[in-house]
């Protein structure tokens, strides 16, 4: 058992890749079942993380470490805390659904497709558990390769342009982060006498942090650029609509569900604790950008004629909340942000999946082609309704909890911007409900829509877990908070916001 626990993260990370490698030996048509089985096994295995993680215990658990490149102080070290645990669970939870959802849509080069999906999962999980900046960078970049092919081979008309844009945007950001990692590792050498890229060692490095363009400020910008592109934060979001619209459904789901979270996670794990002073300096810059993203994303989403593009811009808006929650620099905002990342990882994939289902039936994503779908696809309409409401943050659904906490936190940090951000909630309701109305209600004018089939059993199986998760996360958020609270508190402590954490603790005792 001891051995099992100390190798669990490695297993979770590399099992999908190994599974995929074995899968390449199977006949082309059976690979999808094999991949599905693999993703289920990984999901079940990942539940062990939930039961095994003790929020009162050490900050990072399930640690493992092995020497990798001793000359550069690089170790293969993995570990997780409450924040990464939920993100890993999100990844392993979405993976089987994504594979199941591709059963019909993907017929070309199936073997490569499922191999790439599983390889992608390895990259994502690895990035969430890496405790060494070098290792993190390796996973972070390696992840791009499968995604690039997924968009470029199985995508829509403009897929090549979208894939290229996605790759180059992300690459430019992360290369500057690489320079910052070098610099930090070298500073560690100067201050402590040995090379190290271990995250916990780099946390200890002291850097000059006064002003916007101090050492810390510049390093922070290098990291923040990589993460802001991934989030994506206005004005670096332009790759996202292209990538989402062109990607196959599974690609969009993974992109929205997990890859965007990588940006938020990067801020939490790297940018914040490494450069506390710079974060404080740039706090308002990012609050402003985040607020712009919320409102701008919502406005642009409103006028989209294409459903997928609409959902893509809604992602820009929703991820804007994550950014302002984090940069509120208080525990309420940060908790809300982490929660919002999970929410967005549940509700946006559901929307993408459903748009994909419509697309498989009609081969168009234009809103004006639909109308009155409720009459022919009642079950689908119910599912779409729940996902829509979750996306507009109706109380009782997951979206509400996250956005409420974020706005509360943001209000403490900057009331003016919080008011601006709150208007995003209203616009969010406008664009989502308006789309719902145009697609689902009204007369069934288009003759081609008259013989649409309702959800198949397979599609229902894909959507049900997501819909259930939306309600559960909306009703019993404490189940999730329990395991992440201490990690969020630790994060803020590292960021130098001790007093805020203390306040929360006192309030809790008072209750």
């Amino acid at each position: 058992m001891e051995w099992f626990n100390s190798h669990l993260l490695t297993g979770l990370t590399f099992l999908p890749l190994v599974w995929a490698a074995v899968g390449t030996l199977l006949p082309e048509k059976t690979v999808k079942h094999w991949a599905f089985a693999g993703s289920i096994v990984v999901f079940l295995l990942s539940l062990k993380l939930y039961t095994g993680y003790d929020p009162q215990g050490a900050e990072f658990q399930f640690l493992e470490s092995a020497e990798w490149i001793p000359g550069l102080g690089v170790n293969y070290s993995l570990g997780m805390d409450g924040i990464s645990m939920w993100l890993i669970l999100l990844t392993t939870f979405l993976s089987p659904l994504v594979i199941l959802s591709s059963y019909q849509g993907v017929e070309d080069r199936e073997k490569s497709y499922y191999t790439l999906l599983l390889a992608l999962q390895t990259g994502m999980t690895g990035a969430f558990v890496a405790m060494d900046t070098f290792l993190f960078y390796v996973f972070w970049e390696a992840m791009l390769i499968p995604m690039y092919f997924l968009i470029g081979i199985w995508g829509g008309k403009e897929r090549i342009y979208a894939a290229m844009k996605f790759f180059i945007f992300t690459m430019v950001g992360s290369l500057l982060m690489l320079v910052a990692i070098f610099f930090l590792a070298y500073q560690h050498k100067l201050q402590f006498g040995n090379f190290s890229t271990a995250l916990l060692d780099l946390y200890k490095v002291k850097l000059d942090g006064a002003g916007y363009f101090s050492t810390q400020g510049l390093l922070f910008l290098a990291f923040a650029l990589a993460f802001a592109i991934k989030v994506p934060l206005f004005p670096l979001h332009t790759w996202l609509p292209d990538a989402h619209v062109q990607a196959p459904t599974a690609g969009s789901v993974i992109l929205a569900g997990v890859l965007l979270k990588m940006g938020g996670y990067g801020f939490i794990r790297f940018a914040f604790p490494l450069f506390p002073q710079a974060v404080a300096t740039y706090q308002h810059t990012f609050l402003i950008l985040g607020s712009i993203a919320i409102v701008y994303g919502a406005w642009v989403a409103m006028v989209q004629p294409d459903m997928k593009k609409l959902v893509a811009y809604s992602s820009v808006s929703h991820m804007g909340y994550v950014v302002i929650g984090l940069f509120a620099l208080n525990s309420i905002g940060a908790t809300g942000s982490v929660y919002q990342m999970l929410n967005h990882g549940i509700s946006t994939p559901a929307l993408f999946l459903m748009v994909g289902m419509l697309y498989e039936r009609r081969h168009t994503k234009e809103i004006k082609e639909y109308g009155g779908i409720t009459k022919v696809m009642p079950l689908f309409a119910v599912a779409f309704m729940i996902a829509t409401l979750s996306s507009v943050a109706l109380p009782g659904t997951n979206g509400f909890v996250g956005e409420f906490l974020i706005l509360l936190g943001a209000f403490k940090a900057n009331p003016g911007l919080a008011v601006l951000a709150t208007t995003g909630v209203i616009f969010g309701a406008v664009y989502m409900l308006w789309m719902f109305q145009r697609v689902m209600f009204g007369p069934l004018t288009n003759p081609e829509n008259k013989k649409l089939k309702d959800l198949s059993l397979r599609e229902a199986c894909v959507l049900t877990p997501l819909l259930v998760a939306m309600i559960v996360m909306g009703v019993v958020p404490n189940f999730f908070f329990e395991k992440m609270e201490t990690s969020v508190a630790k994060l803020l402590e590292r960021t130098g916001k001790v007093e805020m954490v203390a306040q929360t603790a006192i309030r809790k005792d008072g209750k």
Binding site: W68, I69, Y148, I153, M164, I168, V172, V179, F182, A185
Partner: protein, 503 residues
């Protein structure tokens, strides 16, 4: 005058140990001479006998060199040559390059109807030249070695003698190369004139001991030697010859040149560079001006190489410009090396890795090339992922590695190289280098777009004949090494660090 008549006897005799150290050279020279003989024996099939003789010689040399990597430094021929880890390391590199280039050439030559034994023999001689370059400690020896290498390569470049582009390439390379050699030789003469010695370690010792030896003549000589080497490594502004030559040369020879010739030039460059006293804090002229010039050249090389590569539609030409860009990264390593803890190790590692991945890419291209080196345009690769899944996969790995994306060897070595530059406090140089490599991502990925994301075109040859075994072996080896060094780079870093320790 009397002294000149008496030759020091130690120059003429070699002890048993020293002879053993010369093993790799004996293997190669023996193989080259034997190949010349068996090549003209009528009743033997020259294709296979010459290939076999060459391979035996190369592998023998490779084995002996590999065993010498860990050895201590030993001077040979009164200090004109040296056998140390550094030379053994590069010998392994050159011999490996030669072996794999020969494997990739076997079928290619049949296809081009150029199956002559001279090809193999010239390749062996140029490899011998490279090996001597890496182990020469004397400016004259370096020059001779350079000429042995270059003359053979001039001929090899023009080997497709009925092709206009090949002829043009050979002529261009010969004239410009000869001019560069002349500059190098003249520079060497000036260095000798100002310091009184040809031995590069001795030059360093003398100028360190006596600063006033650094006369204007010394500086002029050093700059000329530098220019000669910059030509050989194809740094901007001495890069103009390279794309035409690479495009015109037979594809396996292009691979051989981008890796072997370049690594040899760098190996000798490193040795000479050390002798200039850069990084030793001798004078501000060397420290400041040399640094600044190299800094500007490195940035210009990276930038120009990458930007021009963006517009290329011929793969050989694209890889030619990418090789210029990689020279730029290597120059970054050269600038940083004396100030970083790892010394020249990142440069050596980068060269080794670059050799592996580029050789692999050219082996793939040799297989794909049609008669007369056609079929190497981007659109000819359309749908390669379906036609030749394994070749396409291998080429993809090599391109990812060239672009420096983990988990490939290209990433590990770039990381090591740029990390050393950070230690040398060249932060802005590193920032520029990574931005240039972001540009590079575009043209490497564009090849993948054609291979995987486009359907085969009507005019592309649909089903090619199967991949020849020797070339397949070469490609598979290189893929394995690219991934192996990429995932576990520690060993390679340790080796390179050891071999540059006593430069």
């Amino acid at each position: 005058m009397d002294k000149l008549n008496v030759i020091d006897p130690s120059f003429l005799t070699l002890s048993g140990d020293q002879l053993a150290l010369l093993g790799p050279y004996f293997w190669m020279i023996g193989a080259a001479l034997l190949a010349m003989i068996v090549g003209v024996i009528r009743f033997l099939p020259s294709k296979w006998t010459v290939f076999a003789v060459a391979m035996v010689g190369i592998l023998g040399g490779l084995f002996v060199s590999a065993n010498q990597i860990g050895m201590d430094r030993a001077d040979l021929f009164g200090g004109m040559m040296v056998a140390d880890g550094f030379s053994a390391f590069f010998n392994v590199l050159f011999l490996g390059t030669a072996a794999l280039s020969l494997c990739a050439s076997l079928k290619y030559l049949d296809k081009e109807k150029l199956q002559y034994p001279e090809y193999t023999i010239l390749l062996l001689f140029s490899t011998i030249g490279m090996m001597l370059m890496a182990s020469a400690l004397d400016l004259i020896t370096i020059f001779i070695a350079l000429e042995i290498m270059s003359l053979s390569v001039y001929v090899l470049v023009g080997f497709r003698r009925n092709d206009r582009r090949s002829n043009e390439a050979a002529m261009k390379y010969f004239i410009l190369g000869a001019a560069a050699s002349a500059i190098l030789l003249y520079g060497s003469a000036l260095l000798y004139g100002s310091t009184g010695t040809f031995v590069i370690t001795e030059i360093l010792a003398r100028i360190s001991a006596k600063g006033d030896l650094m006369t204007p003549v010394f500086h002029l000589g050093a700059w000329m030697v530098l220019a000669g080497f910059l030509f050989k490594i194809a740094s901007v502004p001495f890069h103009m010859w390279l794309p035409d030559v690479y495009e015109g040369a037979p594809t396996p020879i292009t691979g051989f040149m981008t890796t072997g010739v370049k690594a040899a030039a760098f190996a000798a460059f490193i040795r000479v560079f050390v002798a200039f006293g850069y990084g030793k804090d001798l004078t501000s002229a060397v420290e400041g001006r040399l640094h600044d010039v190299l800094w500007v050249l490195a940035v210009a090389t990276m930038f120009i190489g990458n930007v021009i590569a963006l517009t290329q539609t011929n793969l050989k030409r694209m890889l030619a410009y990418s090789t210029i860009a990689h020279t730029g990264y290597l120059l970054v390593g050269m600038i940083a090396a004396p100030h970083a803890e790892s010394g020249f190790a990142p440069v050596a590692m980068y060269l080794a890795v670059y050799t592996v991945m580029n050789l692999g890419a050219f082996a793939v291209l040799s297989v794909l090339a049609g008669r007369g080196d056609t079929g190497l345009n981007l659109h000819d690769l359309s749908g390669l992922g379906k036609r030749h899944p394994w070749l396409a996969f291998s080429l993809a790995i090599f391109l990812f590695s060239l672009a420096g994306i983990p988990p490939t060897a290209g990433f590990a070595s770039k990381y090591y190289l740029l990390y050393s530059a950070i230690q040398a406090k060249e932060v802005w140089l590193v920032v520029l280098a990574v931005l240039c490599s972001a540009i590079a991502v575009y043209y490497y990925l564009r090849v993948l777009v054609y291979m995987y994301m486009r359907e085969p075109q009507a005019d592309t040859p649909s089903a090619k004949d199967f991949t020849p075994a020797a070339a397949a072996f070469a490609v598979a080896m290189m893929v394995a090494m690219t991934l192996q060094i990429g995932i576990l780079p520690a060993k390679m870093m340790a080796i390179t660090k050891r071999v540059v320790a006593k430069l």
